[in-house]
């Protein structure tokens, strides 16, 4: 028999809801009163005002005459860029270190152990500052740039990569190239008759390369002119320092997650695989890791969310992300503290909810299906 909640229980719920609404109303009206008392107004109209400042690193075009709204977009993309690169690097490095932790080799095992303990037990902010000031700022000045293979230059202002300048059709061609690349894994699995397409699908990446090459007009090589390197694409040290700081720190935690998850797989699996004659690598990648993945995914999610949130530490090393540009410069110039903080919080909430939604979906996909 299903028990129904008593009317008293309902009354309690309603009272709680009322109390919560009253508190929320009080907070909003109090903030409103305080703003009015200080001759300040509330509104998001300032997003359309001209910003009049420079953003040193951006993925989309930006000029000083653009609006605060566009500054938000530019800094948002910067945040996404460093967080996404951080997540990829942290996952790969964490997986690698986690596997090293279980190595039969004493030296390898202990190198991994010291890495994890050292990184995990020092503050992340200090690590980021260390990468920026102690490592990247000791690189030579632009005039003494270190010349790397393939025309790349490295100096204190960053790494300069050659840039491919596209012909007018370049955009379309590289779009097709991307499409071809994306289609490769799907084609790999398609069956023609009884046989899989398999390695034959590799003709697609080759095609993609050809398409891309066809779209290139000329290569823009970085060269020294005046104060700085001109031409090419600059990867600023601020980005690299933040990226290293985020990914190495998270990698230490991910390594422990990987190790724990692998150890949670019953030893019988490994022994059975050995008995079937699988080699060490095959055992790891075909038998152990796919099973460990199920245990890893939920814990990885919270590490990913941490990386995204910690990207706001970039303000310390002058990386122009949302916190620095929008909750810093824009907030000061427009004088809209409450609005800018609301927007920044909403942005991080949205990114993190989307990330965890994706991870939950992925978790359901890899989870053990019990019948």
């Amino acid at each position: 028999m299903v028990r129904r909640p008593s009317p008293r229980a309902y009354a309690g719920q309603w009272l709680l809801l009322l109390a919560a609404a009253a508190v929320a109303w009080y907070i909003v009206s109090n903030a409103g009163d305080n703003l009015a008392r200080r001759n300040m107004s509330f509104g998001f109209g300032f997003l359309w005002d001209v910003s009049n400042f420079d953003i040193p690193f951006r993925l989309v075009p930006w000029s000083e005459a653009d609006t605060y709204g566009r500054a938000l977009l530019v800094s948002f993309l910067n945040t996404i860029a460093v967080a996404a690169c951080g997540i990829v690097a942290a996952t790969l490095l964490g997986l690698f270190i986690g596997i090293m932790r279980l190595s039969a080799n004493w030296l390898v095992r202990n190198i991994a152990l010291s890495f994890v303990e050292f990184i995990r037990n020092t503050p992340q902010l200090i690590q980021i500052v260390f990468w920026y000031f102690a490592v990247l700022q000791t690189l030579p000045s632009p005039r003494q740039s270190i010349v790397l293979p393939a025309g790349m230059l490295l100096n204190i202002r960053g790494a300069y990569l050659p840039n491919a300048v596209m012909t007018p059709h370049g955009g379309l061609l590289s779009g097709l190239a991307l499409l071809a690349l994306a289609a490769t894994p799907f084609l790999w699995r398609v069956r023609v008759g009884a046989r899989r397409v398999g390695a034959n699908a590799l003709f697609l990446p080759v095609l993609a390369l050809a398409l891309f090459a066809a779209g290139v007009d000329h290569i823009d090589w970085p060269t020294l002119k005046g104060f700085n390197i001109r031409g090419g694409t600059q990867v600023p040290p601020e980005f690299v320092a933040l990226w290293l700081g985020l990914s190495i720190y998270a990698a230490a935690f991910i390594a422990e997650i990987v190790r724990g998850s692998i150890e949670a797989i019953s030893k019988g699996q490994s022994e059975a695989a050995q008995a079937l004659g699988l080699k060490t690598g095959q055992r790891l990648f075909l038998i152990i890791l796919p099973q460990a993945l199920r245990i890893m995914v939920p814990q990885l999610t919270s590490q990913y969310l941490n990386i995204i949130k910690s990207s706001t530490l970039g303000a310390v090393v002058a990386y122009p992300e949302v916190m620095q540009i929008f909750a810093g410069t824009v907030m000061n110039q427009a004088g809209k503290e409450i609005e800018t903080i609301i927007i920044v919080m909403a942005i991080f909430l949205a990114i993190n909810l989307l990330t965890s939604a994706f991870m939950n979906w992925y978790n359901r996909r890899v989870a053990l299906v019990e019948r």
């Binding site: 008392r37 200080r38 001759n39 300040m40 009049n52 400042f53 420079d54 040193p56 000083e64 005459a65 500052v129 000031f133 700022q137 000791t138 000045s141 204190i156 202002r157 002119k225 005046g226 104060f227 700085n228 001109r230 040290p237 601020e238 303000a315 310390v316 090393v317 002058a318 122009p320 620095q324 810093g328 410069t329 907030m331 000061n332 110039q333 427009a334 004088g335 503290e337």
Partner: protein
């Protein structure tokens, strides 16, 4: 009996009259939420820079010194009679105005520019400039740059949340060149980035750039470019709507200027107070008249200020002048010595 009754009535009436006078004199007494709060607390909470030579820095014994700190001490001396009764809150350029608006500090004296935006959009009172300067760019000598317009393509380090970024953007647009900027949260990190060569130069107001140069390993390797990108009147900020408190802050600064003009120093103030027959000096030091009461202070508030911190010229010498960063007095000299420091009249 009747006469005695009359007397009683008269007595009552007189008492009521006196009470009325008492009440009305209580009404004219200064009402200021900030002043009341400071007195009740027995301490002034002063928002200052997180640490920059000249304006606000800690000496070898950990005591706060500087031009802005001196004004904090002057206000505490005037209001509480003791320059030590100050709690210093270091504020970054990013949060300084929010901290003031929220009431966490009583006054913000943090090398902050007085601007229309801050008066209009932040609801703050631009009290009075206590330091006149202009945005200056400092570059390495070895770059061989002589003028700001030669900086096309260069990158300049600076602090976030300031008017400096906007000035550079304006300069870029006006001259159709491109000077890049790199924004830091705190001076130490910005200085370090300039020192290591990540940027070609560093920019801030003239006083702060002199402070930055003093922290470089080889200060002589750096030169100031002759042009300034903007005029920068720096001064204290208070919250709008507390005019009495704003008055106290303003007149504490003026007291230091007036003392300099009258030739009163920290060393000779007691002597002058005893010996002087000059009515101006006597009014200034509170021996004559009722000038301090009118703004809610004691009549001898100016005496207390000079006794505690000295006059403006002395403070400048110790912080920016020959005993400090070696910056010429320039615009910050008194009006009668070719500067802009021009206090309002005392009477």
């Amino acid at each position: 009996m009747r006469s005695r009754n009359m007397l009683a009535v008269c007595g009552l009436a007189a008492a009521a009259f006196l009470a009325q006078i008492g009440a009305s004199s209580a009404q004219t007494e200064v009402k200021s939420p900030t002043l009341d709060a400071v007195k009740k607390r027995g301490q002034l909470i002063c928002g200052i820079d997180t640490g920059i030579p000249g304006y606000a820095y800690q000496d070898s014994s950990g005591k706060w010194q500087g031009l802005d700190v001196a004004l904090c001490r002057a206000i505490a001396a005037a209001v509480l009679g003791d320059p030590e009764k100050v709690k210093y809150i270091g504020t970054t350029s990013k949060v300084r105005f929010s901290v003031l608006q929220s009431g966490e500090i009583d006054v913000l004296i943090r090398d902050s520019e007085l601007t229309l935006t801050r008066a209009g959009q932040l609801g703050l009172e631009e009290v009075t400039p206590n330091f006149y300067t202009g945005q200056t760019i400092m570059v390495r000598k070895s770059l061989g740059v002589q003028h700001v317009k030669d900086l096309n393509g260069a990158t300049i380090c600076l602090l976030t949340g300031t008017t400096l970024e906007t000035n550079i953007a304006d300069y870029n647009r006006a001259n159709n060149i491109k000077i890049g900027t790199l924004l830091f949260d705190k001076p130490e990190e910005a200085f370090a980035a300039a020192e290591s060569g990540r940027c070609d130069g560093y920019t801030d107001d003239g006083g702060s750039v002199a402070a930055a140069r003093s922290t470089m390993k080889k200060p002589d390797d750096w030169i100031f470019l002759p042009e300034t990108l903007s005029r920068q009147p720096l001064g204290p900020h208070t919250r709008q709507g507390d005019d009495r408190w704003t008055n106290i802050v303003r007149w504490s600064h003026f007291a230091m200027l007036e003392a300099e003009e009258l030739g009163i120093t920290k060393a000779n103030v007691d002597e002058v107070r005893k010996a002087s027959t000059d009515p101006q000096v006597k009014k200034f030091l509170g021996l004559e008249g009722d000038l301090g009461k009118g703004i809610g202070l004691d009549n001898d508030f100016a005496y207390k200020i000079v006794k505690a911190v000295g006059n403006y010229g002395e403070v400048y010498e110790a912080t920016f002048g020959s005993k400090g960063l070696g910056l010429p007095r320039g615009l910050n000299n008194l009006y009668n010595k070719g500067g802009l420091m021009y206090p309002y009249s005392w009477y």
